[in-house]
Subunit: 599 residues, 2 copies
Amino acid sequence: MVVFPKPDVEKFLRTYGIQNFAVSPDEKQLVFSTNLNGKYNLWAMDLPNTFPYPLTFLGQSCHALQYDKQGRFIIAGFDHDGNENMQFYAIPMQGGTMKEIVYQENTRNYYPLLSEDGKRLYYTSSKDNPRYLNSYCLELESGEEKLILEGKETGTFVSALSPDESTMLYSKRFSNTNMLLYAKRGNEEFLLTPVSEEQHTVSGGVFVSDTLVYLLTDYAADFKYLASYNLETKTFTKIKELENEGFSDLQYDKDQQLLYVSSEKGVEDYLYQYDLRNGDWSQLSIPFSVIDKVAVHKSGSLYVLGRSATTPHNIYKKVDNEWVSLTNFKIPGIEAEELVEPEIIKYKSFDDLEIEALLFKAKQENDKGKMIFWPHGGPQAAERKEFKAYFQFLLNKGYSIFAPNFRGSTGYGLNFMKMVDGDWGYGPRLDNVSGLDWLIENNYAEKGNIIMMGGSYGGYMALLLHGRHSEYFSAVIDICGPSNLFSFINSVPEDWKPAMDQWVGNPEKDREKLIEFSPITYLEGMTKPMLVIQGANDPRVVKEESDKIVEALQEKGRNIEYMVLEDEGHGFSKKENEIAVFQKIESFLERVVSDKIEV
Amino acid sequence: MVVFPKPDVEKFLRTYGIQNFAVSPDEKQLVFSTNLNGKYNLWAMDLPNTFPYPLTFLGQSCHALQYDKQGRFIIAGFDHDGNENMQFYAIPMQGGTMKEIVYQENTRNYYPLLSEDGKRLYYTSSKDNPRYLNSYCLELESGEEKLILEGKETGTFVSALSPDESTMLYSKRFSNTNMLLYAKRGNEEFLLTPVSEEQHTVSGGVFVSDTLVYLLTDYAADFKYLASYNLETKTFTKIKELENEGFSDLQYDKDQQLLYVSSEKGVEDYLYQYDLRNGDWSQLSIPFSVIDKVAVHKSGSLYVLGRSATTPHNIYKKVDNEWVSLTNFKIPGIEAEELVEPEIIKYKSFDDLEIEALLFKAKQENDKGKMIFWPHGGPQAAERKEFKAYFQFLLNKGYSIFAPNFRGSTGYGLNFMKMVDGDWGYGPRLDNVSGLDWLIENNYAEKGNIIMMGGSYGGYMALLLHGRHSEYFSAVIDICGPSNLFSFINSVPEDWKPAMDQWVGNPEKDREKLIEFSPITYLEGMTKPMLVIQGANDPRVVKEESDKIVEALQEKGRNIEYMVLEDEGHGFSKKENEIAVFQKIESFLERVVSDKIEV
């Protein structure tokens, strides 16, 4: 028989992703954004046939996707090479030539919402109000456009329309931990949660009638629960809450009068069904641990984009209590037993706060005895049981990975999340240091021999820990991490700026703190070999953040390598870039953390 | 409502192809070679799910594909960038790292045949006998290899094994119109058609038992029919023939004791079923006009790769008398009514021979009033009702296309096919001239305003007609056509050479004729703007054939453009190259056949 060599680990990176999907009103077509041919494009399948065909050839990430409710066209939002200047296009149902619907250079457009008759597009844009945003209603036929909402004190987004289009929901984003939902009907405006001194968040507002809205909020609570707001009676009602679980998404099935509620609890998601007729609440078993999107078709069919630690993105349909995978993304040539499921670890931080972490242990036959310490980005996000091709790639190469959900992470309640607001560099840093100590105490790693690696806030944390605690590390990898919080605060997208004081700090009032929290303050301490990776078009952490730290360390003669991706933004969306990045990381690690003794 | 612009015609070229497919022994997987991601790679689907996933990332054309009959691996043959040096690889069922099974630089390998137990691979190779070829039996486990057949007088290929592996079928290719099939058992050898002075061809030999072979032959006939040969009794028996139809492929369904017979008649194919138990013969209705491959699974399921003039390659499965398309390749964004179905035209040539042709008329709304005259390649091949993306692309751009099946074409009987043997430049050329006259007489084109375009033999014919009849043309496009038959005869693959005397001519005995038939003889006449396109690795018509004519015409100061594709052979397999070629052709035509009046 033919004996095959061990699979080339590059194959791990040849796993495709799905960014978004939508189902056509007649349920005969499903459109999805996938990098099946190397770059993200829209593809479709003619249900029940699942063989995909391409609708677009733009090669760009899709940030918004919906069908005209009459089934005549698709509206999709694409930016360009990661610049996050999302523009909206109409796309014929069978592909072909796209038409620009909302397109203006250097503007950021959000939340396209089509009217029931497909004649009007509501959306929010930076074009006339880059800091607070405005919302518009565009007549698709005539091109006429009306300003319908002007952002004033903070970023303001229209997010839903009532069935009769007389009422719209909009949210104000003061910060990630302070977001309020309002309804606007004519000149009337209502706040949909009770007025409170306590900051809280609201999301998922859906109309079940012209006057009744269901929403998710953590008003007067630590975890998000299901509530309703009656626009006639102005009544806010708590409907359903679960202990230590926060609801994250809400979808409405009109015919069956059901709400589908996604919930997050630490590193996993759950899915529930709430019957509006009788109040029955039940949990649905799901074959994935993280839910990326839920869509309910008006037929009642349920579609979910999900993944788990060892299963890539796939779109599932619920058929007679079974989940059928419509797509079939897997890791080419890799058997399930070659993949690593993480263990869930809990440890105590410096102040006794409990931190949850994922520990991915390299299989014995691959194990190099090296540990990668990975603080996630966000920071108000979390490391979850979700497939990351590069994690499995590094694991197969023999590196173990430890990923702590330090204070500020989502999935552990609003209070936990708030702990990073205005405290980027103290509490979370010490949570990470406690994680490093835990690894050492439990013999998973040796001090001085740990690889530090992270992206975005995780890249910032990698830089900060490198500068202040380099004694733990053998090498450091920073992927688009802010190096100087003063310049970072100044260079984020304009509509993020209203949130910066609370989230990071005020350059004047918090000057001392921002100096203390900025990695660039600790150049002297950054003595380990370091690799910095940056997308040239990144609008969140601009390239200068990486340029500056690289230049400063090069001047000092430190061992530093720099990789810039010209056609990427905040992360890597193009398959060839992703492969180049992780091949670079692998060769960097092979070189700098090698055990070889050389004279 | 959104009004979309006319589809960008580049979309026509964004249509994907399928080269080959196979179904796994347990019928749970179907593997196929498609350029879905730009280059040809193997993809698979886990039946009945049709969502494809990639098995290889080589980006090369697949020339042979089969499953180990025990379902443990796949054997596939790939060349490199069109060089036609096919090498064999074993591929794990779920993809991953391929293993070279038969790999030797600069050799051509043919017909991999796996034993029932998957332990031995039989194949034919140029490695030790480049002119006549040898066949080998390779033990896959030990790598031990035995020579089992030595080619002597002409190219010799092993093509089938009896169930007990005691007997093999092999064919000798004297020329395309003279191919004999033999059986070899130990030292015994039998010719499977009666000995005859008349040249004929045999193909499709399949064992239905260790001693009974079914085959297709035109022995003592003009069209290929179904026959059997009994190895015990040494009896040849004609089984089934059809008037004016030649059988082209034979597949055996053991369980149901059926033979599936593909048949070609002019521009279309048909599919028949022959019941070995009772001799019943019936025609199957098919939703495609050209059959590229038929595969019968041992379960009795029938799979066909087919296409029509307006439908790209798709793989169909017969389910309860219905054909279900497993793949869903279409032309992105192009409605069926925008595509052109050809008319079948018949005209009389100079000597009264009837010639069939396909006439594709540009839709009125696109029509530029320009006619492309397209003689096919081969020349022992034919223009059929089969999807060509670039035909529909040019039609949509407003060019009509006329494609004659001049003498020598297949699909019209052995005698018609033989008419090009040794007569490359006379009869077929005048058939084309008669076709040009027919277009003019019937007001489809004006003399002097016809665009001449062809590839391979069609490129040769474009050059020859340009040199001798340039008064018909406004522009000429030659894609990898031989320009000088002397150098062509010398530079074809070594194993083609035994056939060259009959097929083209002998450089010494036929010197005068080869001078007369060589386009380069008529440089003076080549006065129209010309575009020459050539793949750098083409082993059939080597690059020098194009270099020479381009140089000679450049020296004369003629209007000539030259495009060389570095990573292609005889044709274009890579999507980006294909698009570049047809964009080049379009811009060349726009420029040189423009009606603009300029001073």
